[in-house]
C-alpha cells in the first residue's frame, strides 16, 4: 500500500533576498514534508526564516533553489494565477494581525473568500453560519472587526481560513497580538481544527502554542534543526 501524498513537500529549498548591502540567505537547503492531518509548529528566533518557510509552503512565494510540491504537484512551474487558485481553494491563512477587512462584518469576512471561490450562495450561507458557530462567534456575525476583541478577530480569521475547506491551514504567529489567556483559547481552537482533520502548520514564538503541535521544528539561521515529537503524538 503506497503512502498518502504529502500535503506539501519542500525539497532542499533556499531563499535568497537581494539587498543593497548584499544578498541575504533567509532559507538554506530546507527540506520538510507535511503529511495530511499533521499538526506542525515551527519555532525559532526572529529573522531565522520561519515566516519565509511558511510563505513558501503556502505558495505565496517561490524558492530561489530547490523544489516544492503541493499535493504532489510541483509548484515552481505554476503561474501566479494557478498558485492563487491553490491558495484560495486548498490553503487557509491565519495572520498575526488578523487582516480582517474592516468594512465587512464577521459574516462577510468569512463569506467573501467563499464567494471568490465561486461557492453557491446557499452553500456559502450555511458554511458561514456553521463556521462562525464552530469558532464560537455565532452571535457576533453582524459585528464589524472594530467591534470585536483581538481573540474574537482571530477566531473570525480562523473561520475565514477554513471557509473553502482547505487541505492545509498555515498560521503565522497567530497569538502574537493576544494575551496569554486568549492565546490559550486560540490554541484550543487550533487543536479542535486539527482534530477535525485539517493539517496545520504554525509558526510561533509562543512555547505553549508550539507545545500543542504533534511535530515541533526549530529553525536557526535559515536551517531546520532536528525535529522533536510533541506530547500529543
Amino acid at each position: 500500500m503506497s503512502a498518502p501524498v504529502a500535503i506539501v513537500e519542500a525539497r532542499g529549498v533556499s531563499k535568497v533576498y537581494p539587498m543593497p548591502a548584499g544578498p541575504v540567505e533567509a532559507l538554506r537547503d530546507v527540506s520538510l514534508t507535511v503529511a495530511p492531518g499533521e499538526y506542525v509548529a515551527i519555532s525559532g528566533p526572529s529573522g531565522c526564516g520561519k515566516s519565509t518557510l511558511l510563505h513558501l509552503l503556502g505558495c505565496v512565494d517561490t524558492p530561489t533553489a530547490g523544489s516544492l510540491l503541493f499535493e504532489g504537484r510541483p509548484v515552481l512551474p505554476m503561474g501566479e494565477q494557478e498558485r492563487s487558485r491553490i491558495r484560495l481553494r486548498r490553503i487557509g491563512f491565519v495572520f498575526q494581525r488578523f487582516y480582517l477587512l474592516p468594512m465587512l462584518t464577521a459574516w462577510e469576512n468569512v463569506e467573501l473568500v467563499q464567494s471568490e471561490a465561486g461557492m453557491p450562495a446557499a452553500e456559502r450561507r450555511a458554511r458561514t453560519r456553521a463556521l462562525l458557530e464552530y469558532v464560537g462567534l455565532g452571535e457576533r456575525a453582524a459585528h464589524l472587526p472594530s467591534q470585536l476583541s483581538g481573540g474574537e478577530m482571530q477566531r473570525v480569521a480562523i473561520a475565514r481560513a477554513l471557509a473553502n475547506r482547505p487541505g492545509l491551514v498555515l498560521a503565522d504567529e497567530p497569538t502574537g497580538e493576544l494575551d496569554d489567556e486568549t492565546g490559550e483559547q486560540i490554541g484550543d481552537l487550533f487543536d479542535r481544527v486539527n482534530a477535525d482533520g485539517t493539517t496545520l502548520v504554525i509558526v510561533t514564538h509562543n512555547p505553549a502554542l508550539a507545545a500543542r503541535a504533534r511535530r515541533r521544528l526549530a529553525m536557526r539561521s535559515g536551517r531546520l534543526a532536528a525535529p522533536s515529537v510533541g506530547a500529543g503524538s
Binding site: 515566516s51 519565509t52 510563505h55 503556502g58 505565496v60 512565494d61 501566479e80 494565477q81 492563487s84 487558485r85 491553490i86 491558495r87 484560495l88 481553494r89 490553503i91 491563512f93 495572520f95 498575526q96 494581525r97 487582516y99 477587512l101 474592516p102 468594512m103 465587512l104 462577510e108 463569506e111 467573501l112 473568500v113 464567494s115 471568490e116 471561490a117 475565514r160 473553502n164 503565522d172 504567529e173 502574537g176
Partner: protein, 394 residues
C-alpha cells in the same frame, strides 16, 4: 460580493475621504463640463440665431461681414435674378443703418434701423400690435420697434417716431413691437420697409442692399443653393450657415475655444491627479490588507477590478454631481459674460448639448481608468510575502 459592492464598502469605510474625493471630482467635473459647453456654445447659439430667421444662406458683395463692407449694388435686379433660381425659395434684400432720435430727455439716441420687405420668415418676432405692412403712397411709413426702443421712447402701436433731422421731418408710425434675433440687451432697433429705409436715410442709394437673405427650397439644402448662386452670380459671395459658422469658428470665436481647451485640459489634469492621489493613498494605507487578500487567493484581476470599481464610484459619483453643478455654474458664468456690450441678447456662451454630455461621460470613464492605473499597478505587483513581512515588523 461584487467588486462594485466591495468598492462601495471600501469608500464607506472612510466617509470623509470619500466625500472629499466626490466633491473634488464634482467641482473639477463641473468646470470640465462647462468648458465643453463653452467650446461650442457660441457656435451652437449663433446657429440657433441664424436659423431662427428662416434663411439658410447669406449673400454679400464681399467677404466682409454684412454692414461692414461694400454693399450689393443693383439690388433689385440681383434679387430678381436670384429669385429665378429654382433652388431658392426666397430672397430678401436687407439694409442696415443707424439713425438718431430725439429722446424724451431732449438728448438724442441712436437707433439701428433694418430695412427689409414685409416679414417673410423670421426676420423678427411680433410681440405686440401689428406687423409691418406695405407702405401706402401717402402718409407715414410703418415701423416696428423693439422693446428697448419702445420703453425708452414710450412707444406703442400707433405712436409716431420722429428721426432727428435738421432737414425734412422723417416720421414713422409704429405698427407693432417686435423682437429682433440679433438685438443686444440695451440696443434700440427698428424695422422698416425698403421704402421706409430710403425715407429714413435720404442720402442712401436706393438700389443697394447690405445683405441678401436667402432661403433654399425645402429638400434642396443650403449647400446646393449656395452652389447655384455662385454659378449664377460669381461676383457675389454666398455663405451657408455652416460656412458662416466655420468663419466665426476660425476667427471671432476661436478665443473661447482656446480658453475652453486650456481650462478643460487643466481641469482634466486636476481630476486625474485628485483621484489618482486618493486611490494611491488608500492603497498605500492598506498594503497589508491587499497582501493578505492576495495570500488568501484573491487574484490580481480581482484586486484590479476592486480598485477600478472604487475609481469608477469616485469619478462616476462626482461626475454625476458635476452635471447639475456645471449647469448651475454655466448659468451664472453665462449671465456674467452676456453683460459684454453689443452682444445679441439671445446669444449664449454656454449651451447644453447631448454631445457635451457624451464627451463628459466618455472623459469620466477614461479618467476613472487612467486614475486607477497607478494604484492598480501598485496593488497588483505587490510582493505578497515581502509586504506581509514588512507589515508584521512595522
Amino acid at each position: 460580493m461584487s467588486p462594485l459592492q466591495f468598492a462601495w464598502r471600501s469608500l464607506s469605510r472612510r466617509p470623509a475621504r470619500a466625500v472629499l474625493g466626490l466633491t473634488g471630482v464634482a467641482v473639477v467635473g463641473a468646470l470640465l463640463f462647462d468648458m465643453l459647453m463653452l467650446s461650442r456654445g457660441l457656435i451652437v447659439s449663433f446657429r440657433d440665431l441664424l436659423e431662427s430667421t428662416g434663411f439658410d444662406v447669406r449673400v454679400t458683395a464681399t467677404e466682409a461681414l454684412p454692414g461692414m463692407g461694400p454693399v450689393v449694388s443693383e439690388a433689385a435686379a440681383t434679387v430678381e435674378a436670384l429669385r429665378r433660381l429654382p433652388e431658392l425659395a426666397a430672397v430678401v434684400p436687407v439694409r442696415f443703418g443707424v439713425a438718431a432720435v430725439d429722446a424724451r430727455d431732449k438728448k438724442t439716441r441712436e437707433v439701428a434701423i433694418i430695412g427689409s420687405e414685409t416679414r417673410r420668415r423670421g426676420e423678427w418676432r411680433l410681440v405686440q400690435g401689428a406687423d409691418l405692412a406695405e407702405d401706402s403712397a401717402a402718409g407715414r411709413p410703418g415701423m416696428v420697434v423693439n422693446r428697448t426702443f419702445a420703453r425708452d421712447q414710450g412707444l406703442g402701436p400707433g405712436s409716431i417716431v420722429r428721426l432727428a433731422s435738421t432737414l425734412t421731418p422723417r416720421e414713422f408710425r409704429v405698427s407693432g413691437i417686435v423682437e429682433f434675433p440679433f438685438e443686444a440687451a440695451a440696443e434700440r432697433m427698428a424695422g422698416v420697409t425698403l421704402n421706409g429705409f430710403t425715407r429714413a436715410f435720404p442720402s442712401a442709394r436706393r438700389d443697394e442692399a447690405d445683405l441678401l437673405l436667402v432661403a433654399s427650397q425645402p429638400g434642396v439644402g443650403a449647400e446646393t443653393a449656395v452652389s447655384a448662386i455662385r454659378r449664377a452670380r460669381p461676383d457675389l459671395h454666398a455663405f451657408s450657415i455652416d460656412e458662416v459658422l466655420e468663419r466665426l469658428r476660425q476667427a471671432e470665436f476661436s478665443y473661447f475655444r482656446q480658453v475652453s481647451f486650456v481650462l478643460a485640459t487643466i481641469a482634466s489634469f486636476f481630476a486625474l491627479l485628485l483621484v489618482t492621489t486618493l486611490l494611491t493613498v488608500s492603497v498605500n494605507q492598506r498594503l497589508g490588507e491587499v497582501a493578505a487578500l492576495r495570500a488568501l487567493g484573491f487574484s490580481r484581476r480581482r484586486i484590479t477590478f476592486d480598485l477600478l470599481a472604487e475609481s469608477a464610484l469616485l469619478v462616476g459619483g462626482g461626475g454625476i454631481v458635476a452635471v447639475p453643478l456645471g449647469l448651475l455654474l454655466a448659468r451664472v458664468l453665462d449671465s456674467i459674460l452676456r453683460q459684454m456690450p453689443d452682444l445679441p441678447s439671445r446669444l449664449h456662451f454656454f449651451v447644453f448639448e447631448p454631445r457635451a454630455l457624451a464627451i463628459h461621460l466618455a472623459f469620466l470613464v477614461l479618467a476613472a481608468l487612467v486614475a486607477a492605473a497607478y494604484p492598480v499597478i501598485l496593488a497588483a505587483r505587490l510582493p505578497i510575502a515581502a509586504t506581509l513581512r514588512k507589515e508584521s515588523i512595522s
